[in-house]
Every structure is written in C-alpha cells, then in structure tokens.
Symmetry: C2
Subunit: 430 residues, 2 copies
C-alpha cells in the first residue's frame, strides 16, 4: 500500500509554521490528557493536537478495520499490535482528513471543537506501556571515545564490538516523558585511591543523546527475525535521553553491566514519528570495518538522516546548544539490532523500546554526552551565560531535538526536555 | 493483623498428602485456565486447585474490600497492588473456608463443583505480567566459583562484590511458566585461539538454580525504600531457572553484561508462595565479611530456610538429583536487594520480579549450575542411567524443587520443570 501521507505537495487546512517539526507529512502518534481530563490517543499537525479517539467516534475512520476503543486507551500498545497495514491506513486517512482540499471536517465547527486542541490544553503522557527496554551501544565514535578514556587508546574498541551490536537490558519503570523532572541519584561511589566505597549524591550526572525505536509483536519464543524483515516490526522512533551517573557506573558495572547508574531515569519525546514518515530520509550506513556474520548482513538503505542537537539550559539563563550529531552515524542500524536481539529466540512485543546507545559523531562538537564533550571533565564547556559545566548541575535542563529535512519538507520529533532536581528529600518530596 | 492462616494445628477438609508442598498453611496464588477454558486466579490445597474468581462470585469473600473482578484476571498484578493487608485477609479467609471445622463450602456440593478442580483439569499460566525483571548475583559461593574459574582464584570476588548486592536488568518477555519447553539458542561464540566469532547453536547450555520474589507497587520515581521496610513490598516467591548459554555469554558480556546468553528463556514455578506463608522459616543470614553501608544494614532475620534441589531427566530415563542447595546461603537478602535497587530512586511496581542469582552452597554437591557442578565441564556428572553430562543435552528436562520444613509443617513451591529442545527450525516449528 502506498504511503500517500508522505506526499510532499500536500498542505493542511490547519496552520503549520514554516519551521514546524509537524507538517501534514509527519502525523506522529502520542497519548495525551485532554482539557476534560480524558486520556486519548492523538496526533499533531503544526501546533494543533488532534484527538483520534473522538475522530473515530465521529466516524472518520469508518471502513478501516479498527476496534471501537482502539484510540480511547492510555497507551498505543494495542494500536501498534494491529500492524503496519493498519498504521498506514490510519496515517493516510488522517492526511486526507486534514488536506486543504478536504472540507468535511474543516467546515464542521462542532466536530472541530470536539477533536482539536491547542497544545497548552493537553498534557502529553508516555505513548506506550513499555514491556521491555533494551539499550544498544551502536555508535563507533562513542564506543571508541569511552574505550580511549577508560582503557587503551590503541585498543579502544573491545574485540566483540565490530562483530556484535552490543546491547543490554534496561529498566522500563523509570522511562518518563519529556517535562517530568528527575532527581539527582544517590548511590555508592569509590573515592580515588580507596578500596572502600562511600554513599552520597552522584557528582557526575550526565545525559546520553540517543534515539529509541518502538516495536510491534514480532516473534514467538524461539523464533528469530531475519534482518531484512526487521523493519516490518518497527512502529516508529522517539528522542531518548539515557540519563547516566558516571561515578556510580564506574564502581558498580563490573561484571554484569550498568544498573543503578542508569535506571534512575530515562526521558523520551512524547510523539512517536513512524518509520513510514521517515521513509524519504533513508541513507546508506557506514561501511563495515570487518566482515559481519550472515544474520547481520542487510540489503538496501537502513540508516536514516536525522539531525540531532542537545541544548543545556541553566536555571535562570538561556539555553546553549552544546552538541550537534546525526542518527546516520550509527555503525549498527535498527534492523541489525533487532535481528541480533532475536537471533536466540528472544520474543519482542508491542510496546518494547530499543535505544540506540549514545549517538556521537566524528567531531568533538558532535559527541553525545558530557563525558565525551568535556573529555571526562578535563575540558569544561562554557555556556552562553559564561558559566562552565563538566557535568550536569542541579536545576539544569537538558533539551534534545531532532529533525529530518529534504527538498523543503521537514519531519521532526519535537523535543525531550528534562530538568535535573537536587537529591530527593523524603520530608519535602513525599 | 495476625496470620491465622499459618496456624500449624489447622487441618483442611480437602485431602492433603503427608509430603505435599501445599498444606492449608501454604495457600499460594497462581493463574490457571479451567476445564471450561476460563482464565482465573486460584490457590491450591493438596492436589486440589481452587478457583478464587468463582469463590468470590459466590460471596465467600464478602466484607473483604475487593473489586468484583479482582480474581477474574489473567494476572495477579491488580490483587498484588492491593497490598499486604488485603493479601493477608484473603489468605486467612481461604484458610477458614477450607478448615476441617468449617462445613459451609464442604457441605455445598453445587458450590464445590464450581470451585474445585483436579490438577489435570487446569493449565497453569504465568502468575503475573512481569513489568521489569532484575537478576541479582547474591550467592558468595557462586560468585567465588565463577571468579575462580574465569579470573583469579586468589582474588575471585571483584572489589565491589562485598559492598553491593550486584544486579543487572533481565528480559521479562522470555519468562515462561513451568512446562513450556525451550529451544537451544543460537548465537555468536568465539573459538579458542581465534579472534573471529562463528555462528551456531550454543554448545554450553546451562541452568541456574535461583529463587525470585515478586513485588507490589513500592515507590515513586526518586524515592528510595528503606531496607527495614522492604519486605512490606514483597508479595511472595517462586522457583526460578535462569537458563544460560555459557559460550554466548563469554563472547558478548564485556562491557555491558550478559544479554542473548540469558534472554532466550527463564522458567518459573507457577504458584507464588507468599512471604506470610514463609514467616515461620526465617533464619539469620551470613555475617558480613566487610562493613556494609548504612542503607544496607537491616534488623532481624531476613533470610529464609528453603531447601532446594535440581534434578536432571534425560529423554528416556529417570531423573537424577544433581544439586541440593538452600536459599539461606544467600549473602545478600531480599530486603538488601530491594533497598539497593531503589536507593537511586528507581521505581518498583506490582508484578516486578527479582531473581536471587544462582544459589550455590558451600559444598560441591550444592552448586547451583552445571558450570560449577562440572567445573567448566572438566568433571562430568554421571546420571543414574549411566550417561554423562557436562552441560544440558537436547531433550533433557531440568526440574527444580523447593520446600521449607519445621515441626511437622512443610511449605513448598512445587516445581519448575523445563525441557530443552533442539535449535528452532523455522520450517518445522512455525
């Protein structure tokens, strides 16, 4: 089925700013609370949020096979489980409803009052109930930077890195949408020249610039997903800030990997941009530096050209952009990640989330974490207000943005914005 | 509130074999499909399964604050979220209903026909929808054995081990109930004296003898759980077989921990035995070998004396018991694990599961994995049919059992039994 929603010549009768991330060619999916405190699934065109639950009740999706309550839910999991054919029919239909040449809803004031919301009337929620969350480690620049800093510059990549899309399991329960603040975590760290840990607030709180993809039901226990079929099971992507406490990580991570250094919080942008919407932005991936096993060998363009940036905003000053990177730098693409994840028969379900790992580019201003940008704190960053940062300070807000652009059409992700608060105070915070 | 269900003098009007794991003092919780293909929450006394959904509809739980459909669900998550006071009221009430001195249900043939099932009439399901699953590494004997084999016998424990209940995130989607077979996983392994991996079936499939506890909603993002309050949030325990592929693990696990070596399957016993039922079996834990940070220091007895065994059954021969261990050997207890897991503010929800890590005891016949029992395959085990095992063969069944016993009362977990099948064949298995 054609993705007519991607037609670059289409315009909407809803107002869309020239630099909006959300033209009628985007049509992302999210979950929000309406002004009437009702939770619903919706989409967004320009700065207008659209209640898909209400649209469906009003009959705008008739003759598409959907259950009556598919959009009247607090997560997209069931809709995502309906599969690509359904996603595409719904997205194409939404494009038709809001096309400037379609007067049906445009001229129905009563329906518009029910269906359309200003952004300040809604409250975005987590778009999916995340069953399992996996984080990969797929940027060669990031893995090389970390290996250079902590191990050996001449052997920065570990022996398995060029053969395996290295990944590990993360914690779903602490994944939060943009806008929810995070407390600085406490934990064990090891002082220099000591073999006895101390307890206290992390002194090295960091962000990690990532993207994450969300899957549909993919396979049964035991059944691998072939690399060239993997995209069939990817619904869409979000921006992902994988908050990290570097000092906690250093002490705890041997031999089973990062744990409390990561699971205090990860933040995502609330609108899932579909893989269909990103179709025009496919690009070649990097050439493999070593031969890859057949189950990881793919055909075609599986990388995506998505511009990424990170801004840091102190409590009382304007933001400073501190990093510009791109999703296309990933050495291992999403199809390889999903093929690897399931090659042993591990089941992947609707609503599972897979992070890319920190997306660093080749130049120092494209590194995707403070650890790399300040080279372990040895080269502090100067912000526009004159203050310096080695890592993230209390009350700083970290903002990540991402968009694709080609031939005048821009498809974006909006932002994930998260403020770091001081350590949780049981008397004050409970 | 008193736990009257634990009264050791109580007897049931249902038949209970002398060596049953499920006397009226146990009253575990599980989920099963009935002979009419209805899914319900139930309990078990002797070899009789009891439909709690039907009991509730018939009014046997009146005056306990429960929603009408609390037991008519495919998971225990909502019931567990109701909290300890409710669990205790329900368990006490069940003990009353089935007490030999209570004739109400005993003499109501029609009700009994609705409520009671033989075990061969039901099919046990996963008892909870597992949100997040964490696996700890809390047996000092296991950590020492692994460190001795793979690193340095003189420094077998890593520097952090005596300070941190080391743990890592696992995969929820591949946790299955007893009885579901598992395919031998495929993956990358590294041949001896090579730096290039090969792809194929794991040659070193292993079990890990563990227990796992299931939590209720415990804390908000940011809020730690104090160690001495942790048990309030533990609903109960199951036996846990954390299947492992040692050769895949060896190649993949640096630096982010085990991934595909673990997430092809983990099996659990289907009846959750409540912490309340285990109350009489509390024992002192091991003395700390190094001082522990204040947030890990607990009061009272937080360990439990639970006898564990593993049997291996070849395809066409009788089983051989190959390991006898005990949950009390754990160096770090469940309260310490939960306090550690949340000290950074990581939220814990109803239905989350936390594995103990392999439970090895001090003697070679108490080691909780083939890796340790055969010392990396160097000392094969001889089974009763005369065959030898270094690791698990195709069509072998691994059976784990566990029970407490004191002053004539035995509270058990039944078993988790899982057969290993050959590698998944897409033509045959789909």
């Amino acid at each position: 089925m054609q993705i007519s929603a991607n037609n670059p010549n289409r315009k909407s009768w809803l107002h869309v700013d020239k630099n909006s991330d959300f033209p009628i060619q985007n049509i992302p999916f999210g979950v929000f609370l309406t002004r009437d405190d009702i939770i619903t699934i919706g989409t967004r065109i320009g700065d207008t949020a659209i209640d898909l639950g209400a649209l469906h009740q009003l009959g705008y999706f008739d003759d598409i096979p959907l259950t009556d309550d598919i959009f009247l839910q607090d997560s997209l999991n069931d809709f995502i489980a309906d599969g690509r054919k359904t996603w595409r029919m719904v997205r194409n239909r939404i494009a038709d409803i809001f096309d400037e040449e379609n007067d049906t809803l445009k001229n129905n004031k009563k329906h518009k009052e029910i269906v359309l919301f200003r952004l300040d009337e809604i409250e975005m929620q987590l778009p999916v109930q995340i069953g399992d969350y996996t984080d990969f480690y797929s940027s060669i620049e990031h893995a090389t930077n970390v290996g250079t800093m902590f191990r050996d510059p001449d052997n920065a990549l570990l022996p398995n890195w060029l053969h395996i899309p290295v990944g590990y399991h993360g914690r779903s329960s602490s994944i939060i949408p943009s806008g929810i603040p995070v407390h600085r975590p406490q934990g064990q760290t090891i002082p220099a020249d000591s073999d006895t840990p101390v307890f206290g607030p992390s002194k090295l709180v960091d962000f990690e610039l990532e993207m994450a993809f969300i899957t549909t039901d993919a396979n049964d226990l035991g059944e691998p997903i072939p690399v060239n079929e993997a995209e069939e099971y990817i619904f869409g992507l979000v921006l992902f800030n994988d908050w990290s406490a570097r000092d906690i990580q250093k002490w705890e991570y041997v031999p089973l990997g990062p744990f409390l250094a990561k699971n205090f919080a990860s933040s995502i942008s609330p609108w899932i941009v579909t893989l269909d919407a990103l179709e025009p932005y496919r690009v070649e991936g990097p050439k493999p530096l070593k031969p890859q096993l057949p189950y990881l060998q793919y055909k075609g363009k599986k990388s995506f050209d998505i511009n990424l940036e990170v801004a840091l905003k102190p409590k009382t000053a304007k933001e400073t952009v501190i990093c510009k990177s791109n999703f296309k730098y990933m050495y291992w693409n999403m199809s390889q990640q999903l093929a690897h994840h399931t090659v042993n028969g591990c089941p992947v379900n609707s609503g599972d989330m897979m992070g890319s790992g920190t997306i660093s580019g080749p130049t120092p201003d494209s590194y995707g974490s403070m650890l790399e940008l300040t080279w372990k704190g040895s080269k502090p960053i100067t912000l526009e207000d004159g203050s310096e940062r080695k890592f993230i300070n209390d009350y700083d807000t970290v903002i990540m943005r991402g968009f694709c652009e080609k031939e005048g059409t821009r498809i974006g992700f909006g932002e994930v914005s998260t403020q770091l608060l001081p350590v949780y105070n049981p008397k004050k915070n409970k």
